[in-house]
Amino acid sequence: MADLIQLLVAGLSIGAIYSMIALGFVLLWQTSNTINFAQGEFVVFPAFLMLLFYQTLKWPFAPAFTATVVISTFFLGWVVRKVLITRLLEQGLLPLIIATIGLALFIRYSLQVFWTPLGLYFPPVFPRFTVKVGPVLLPMEELLNLATAGLIILAVHLFITRTKIGWGMQVIAQNRPLATVLGIDVPQLVTMTFVLNAALAAVSAILIAPIYLVKYDIGISLGLKAFYAAIIGGFNQIRGAFLGGLLVGIVETLSAAYISNEFRDGYALIILIFVLMLKPEGIWGKKEEWA
């Protein structure tokens, strides 16, 4: 029983980080119908930046973290939106998908060639000790990861539901022509969504990097997990991405522990295929509420 609780917490903690990555994914889809196949690389790039500032240049944590988020958000949010996306949005879904695949390859192999092909150790952000709750041993790092990710997702949720900009984004998602008629600056808000997505990815990078070794090619599996999470939970809801991420994290951790480690990436997929067959809008998605 104690084992199970520990595994659940571990699953929730990694799942909450997947949720953050998935959340950006969903927001992009909602406001600009962009499926970002480079989402995983959007996490790997800031992880490398953080290593540069924090580890190589020995900056203190706060400035290193700020610089990472700002630089990564500028390039992956603003520059990508202006250079790549603006022109491609008129061309429909597939050219955009292919272009983001190109972007993913570009980031991945640039990191490999200009930085390192090796996996790098990333120092823990949170202290590593365990808390004893009755018979259960809980690592502080996992609890703090879960709390941080939870707070950030809550903040994004409040931003979307309580601020004017957030309402604007919802209108765009629901009815784009109407948004234009209402005088909402659609391109501006799409840019904001890209910036928000890049920032979310950068923060999740700092949380997830100490758990994995930072390597140029881990983006492939991270991006895919965010994608499953978004689809399992429901692509049209913030809480859907949240739930989906937690579920993927839990299923992955529990199945690796209890069934077999070799197939650990497979279980979430089997759930995914069943969800899509039975309830294509996702477990917690609503049909046609957004978009």
Binding site: Q91, I98, G102, Y109, Q112, L224, F227, I231, L269, M277
Partner: protein
Amino acid sequence: MTDVQSPIRRFLPLLILCGLLILPLGLEQYKLFVGSLVLVYLIAAIGLNLTLGYAGQISLAHAAFLAFGAYSVGILQPHGVPFELCLFIGATISFFFGLLIGFPALRVKHHFLAMVTIGFTIIVFLSLRNLENFTGGSFGIPGIDRPDWGFISFDSDRAYYIYMMIWAIPVLASAYWIKNSRWGRAFKSIRENELRAAALGVSLRNYKLMAFAIGAAYAGIAGALFAPLLGYIDPSAFYIERTIQFLLIVVIGGLGRFEGPIIGSIVVVVLPEALRASQSLFMIIFAVCIMLIMLFMPKGLIGLWDLFVAKFIPPSTETKADLRSAE
């Protein structure tokens, strides 16, 4: 472009491209190998073009279908099954899995379908890696022989290229036939507007399933040819990267255009090899090329040919007359 075209417009690009496919026969060993890869990818991409380009159903499962073909050869050949039968079995397995994967396509679209199909690729990959006594696990299956007809052996690289050409020709011809048949038109009508297609009496269910199944069977044939080309197969050859490569081929060449996969497979296979001279930078340059092509030629490289035609080759009189009457 209208359907009424002068023969030069219709067939010139095809003739040039088919000429290019014969070219590797005269090249040295390594270039011949790259040419052989182009042929394998071409056959699989023709299948994907049918599913995605004509019927509009995105499939990222083509690496898995390729694997069915390749592993049919790898598993059955040691038991003395002749290569052509292995190929047929592989294509059939792919066909039925294609049907199976087609079912989600009846319910979900676009990115959801992309996800289901990429999920299928991952599950097949994991199964190949973990069913060790059947597939050899991550070590794969070594020592796959090239076909041998008793009096003639296709063991040398050049002979095997000719052998693959023998398969590529009926594949190209059948794809061309499908494109212009009742089926091709039904596929296109589904791509353009499902509701309208259904209203006109096109059975969405049957045609979508068939679009997946036929596209998958082509990939199965490609996989069967792929295994003896390498002489060795392992699961990593059939993972997400491969499936994305097929997607790149079809979209870069020109989605839903018959010449598309030919151009695409040449570019996607040969360009990285040609860029290898720049050593480690080649994948980066390749990635930039992909983004540039999508930015400036979202209809694919065949769009260049269309521009060229519009500028330099005058439309035939028939087309002119049509245009006038349309005005």
